[in-house]
């Protein structure tokens, strides 16, 4: 018989903080600047230079740690993590070793309709390294130090994640929380969010952890799940065939969609951590902490629960609308402009997101403003246009940026609801379709639809279907 295995995953997520300047010097953190232009003697590790801690970085780290429900170490320190690499100018990274700024937190994710809590072991502050580029022939390497010293937080989860899908959901939750708090852009493609994963398997029922592998530098949300799925399969095969998983570091290879070994445990570093003597202890007083706590926005899950409660939205809608702070902000603005929440939800999820995603825009760049969308929804409610017409109106609004009433007027979208204007047309339709009339009278409900359809056709779709329906029944009613 085959053993059933349980997957155990823990994630280490690096998030670049959105500060204006680097964590230990005054250089800009702007992404995409020409190589080695955002540098100075401090971040290049020149002899004699010293780090000075950027308070804004601490503030954002505090915000993130609080949003992840961590306990804050109000008196903590920085340490040196020593290793040689050309993109690390000082030969050590300033990080936090045994006294991280935040500890013992959690985030919640919804897995198959059930809410699950994933523990956070720690959140610590550190500096980013530079970027190495290697010549394909191995003759030389180039290093760009623009990223050196950009502030990072590392978020280490407990091994509470039980599937690759949960890992992706957890990572999405982290991104969403960081964006809500305005702590980071979390752009994986720009490297402002990076993820390493520890994964092991164990027989179902076993409480001890199995030997784990570490997956490094997975650089998209899709790949996180893919890499872990591959690793589950690989480890299952190894264990099922009586082998044992080797403790090693592997990386995801995009081309083959597999993971490949980078180094084994024997090659593991001894980082020789010790307290950074160039910095004083980091003290966060009560007033500072309280101020940051008060500045925290409503977080994704709280918002989601509120949407269900306050707007009576289905869980699915609430989830989609709150996963991105931009979408939630847009949606709330549509409702604030007077639109019915369910109608607003449908429009935002389907039409607005459909349009911006197809155009590669962010929702903040949507050509139809929340107020304009509320105006369109109002026209449907008033009966000026049908919902089908509204979709066409929306497309024109996107292209022209004009308000709904203007588009309706200019393109003749008004719905005909005036019975006087419809009477002659309906009379003609009834006269020309005696068979349908007879079918309906004989009990074929569908025949009514045919008559309505004929009327719509005769009015080029402008007739108000509800009015037409009523008028036909008045004329041929039983």
């Amino acid at each position: 018989m085959t053993t059933q295995f349980e997957t155990v995953i823990g994630l280490e997520v690096h998030v670049e903080l959105k500060t204006k300047t680097k964590i230990f010097c005054g250089c800009s953190t702007q992404f995409g600047a020409p190589p080695n232009t955002n540098v100075c003697p401090v971040c290049l590790g020149h002899p004699g230079t010293l780090p000075v801690l950027n308070r804004e970085a601490v503030e954002l780290a505090l915000k993130a740690a609080l949003a992840l429900n961590c306990r804050i170490n109000q008196d903590c320190k920085f340490d040196r993590k020593n290793y040689f690499y050309p993109d690390l100018p000082k030969g050590y990274q300033i990080s936090q070793y045994d006294q991280p700024i935040g500890e013992d937190g959690w985030v919640e994710i919804d897995v198959n309709g059930e809410r699950k809590r994933i523990g956070i072991i720690r959140v610590h502050l550190e500096e980013d390294a530079g970027k190495s580029m290697h010549a394909p022939d191995g003759s030389h390497s180039l290093v760009d130090y623009n990223r050196t010293g950009v502030p990072l937080i590392e978020i280490v989860s407990k091994p509470d994640i039980r599937s690759p899908e949960e890992a992706r959901l957890y990572l999405e939750a982290i991104r969403s929380i960081m964006q809500y708090c305005d702590v980071s852009d979390c752009r994986m493609e720009e490297g402002s969010l990076r993820c390493d994963a520890n994964i092991s398997l164990r027989p179902v029922g076993e409480t001890k952890f199995g030997e784990k592998t570490e997956l490094k530098n997975i650089n998209s949300f899709r790949f996180v799940q893919k890499a872990l799925e591959y690793e589950v399969q690989r480890q299952t095969e190894v264990l099922s065939s009586g082998g044992s998983v080797e403790q090693e570091t592997r990386r995801f290879d995009e081309a083959t969609q597999t993971t490949v070994s980078m180094r084994t445990k024997e090659e593991a570093h001894d980082y020789r951590y010790f307290p950074e003597p160039d910095l004083v202890r980091l003290q966060v007083d009560d007033a500072w902490l309280a101020r940051v706590r008060d500045s925290l926005p409503e977080l994704p899950l709280q918002k989601r629960d509120r949407y269900e409660r306050e707007f009576n939205l289905p869980a699915y809608d609430a989830g989609v609308l709150t996963s991105d702070i931009g979408v939630a902000t847009y949606f709330e603005a549509v409702v604030a402009a007077g639109a019915d929440p369910k109608a607003a939800s449908n429009w935002v999820m389907t039409d607005v997101l459909g349009y911006v995603n197809a155009q590669g825009l962010s929702i903040q760049e949507a050509p139809v403003s929340p107020a304009q969308l509320a105006g369109l929804i109002a026209e449907v409610n008033k009966g000026t246009i049908s919902i089908k017409q509204a979709r066409d109106v929306f497309k024109i609004m996107c292209e022209t940026g004009k308000d709904a009433p203007t588009v309706i007027r200019e393109h003749g979208f008004e719905q005909i609801s005036d019975e006087g204007a419809l009477a002659a047309i309906i009379d003609e339709v009834i006269a020309n379709n005696p068979k349908s009339v007879q079918d309906y009278l004989n009990g074929k409900e569908k025949a009514l639809g045919a008559l309505v359809g004929q009327t719509m056709k005769a009015t080029k779709g402008k007739a108000n279907p509800a009015v037409v329906n009523k008028m036909i029944l008045e004329r041929i009613g039983k």
Partner: protein, 481 residues
Amino acid sequence: MAVHTVKQIMESLRRRESKPSEWAEASLARIRALDERIGAFLHVDEAGALEAARRLDGETPNHPLFGIPYALKDNLCTEGIPTTAASRILEGYVPPYSATVADKLRQAGGVLVGKTNLDEFAMGSSTENSAYKKTRNPYNPACVPGGSSGGSAAAVAAGMVPYALGSDTGGSIRQPASFCGVVGLKPTYGRVSRYGLIAFASSLDQIGPFTRTAEDAAYVLQAISGHDPLDSTSAPEPVDDFVSGLDRGVKGLRIGVVRDLSQEGLDPEVGRLVEAAIATLEGAGAEVVEVSLPHMHYAVATYYLIAPAEASSNLARYDGVRYGKRVSGDSLIDMYERTRSEGFGIEVKRRIMIGTYALSSGYYDAYYLRAQKMRTLIREDYQKAFETCDVIATPTAPTPAFRLGEKVDDPLQMYLNDIYTIPANLAGLPGISVPCGLTEAGLPVGLQLVGRAFDEKTLLAAAHAYEQLRGFEMPLPGVEQ
């Protein structure tokens, strides 16, 4: 050729009897005349000094150090002027920025004449570990000037500059001051910004002056002290007026004398001269009290774990990638190994290895962490001692200057030379060495006074009082004959 103090030059300039360029020229002339024999300088910026001084000629003195030439230990970064830390690995390195102390002295109107020799990366007690040259003691060219700031001490002793800055991690200002018969002051940790000081051991390093008198030291300390936003470990403490309190005398000053301090290795002549100095102070109204520093015996061992540990990390940046020396190799690791093998001298390598070992996983608790605990105990010893005294007096070094080559093959003997100076670094306290006489052989001996944190004022006043009381002038070294 007459040798002048900072105070004398300052007064002459204020009275308009002389011009900054004349002092710069005199300093450069003396360097030209003597430095071939002394070897105090690694780099003399003749053109830069003359240009700076001539610019000042037309200005009115607005700072005590205005127009006065000085030298910097070559581990202090100077924009546009080579800075090597006496290491091959920084051969040809020209910093893109200046140390805060260099900036402060330039703004005060100081005229930098050059950069002085040191033990490579300030690791040593004789300046023999310099990768570039030997520096000789102006009192006896067969002897070392002490170290690691041997070049600065010798330059001041020989009258090439009226003052110079050095750095002190375990005694590197005070011990060479003692060997060369000048005043050397290590301020409280945090008193002077370390920004631009090429780090040896960050939690111990402190910049301070070499001068001919305690009064001169007060002027220089005044100019370089204070919080620096570029150094988080520089203290926000207000800076005292060091000069105005100099004349308060020693009446009622409680001088702590450590009886249980290991007498091992203490040269009897040094012991007698230091005891005589203490007696002189007592005779002028100071009160001598016995204090106990029970953990002092562990200071050297503690220091030789903490300092190398920090150094092993501080020196990791010299990898041949961005600046300084690079020796090409077949691979990245090969390049690192060749660069660092050829770039660092033996003592630096020894300390990097000791430090790396002390921080290694499995050894950290036994070495580095225990050393930190001992450091706390030593700090507490001082706190307790300062409940009953105001300063603690000891010899600065157990011996006078030793001969070149005498201890190079015996690192342990070399390390023990810092036995009296190291504890103040571990505790972060200020210490001063003031000359208290010459041995029969004509070598200077220093009295060390260690004070409370940020109480340099008391140290300077006591040293100044002693200079008035001691009844002799330190003779100019025989280097001119």
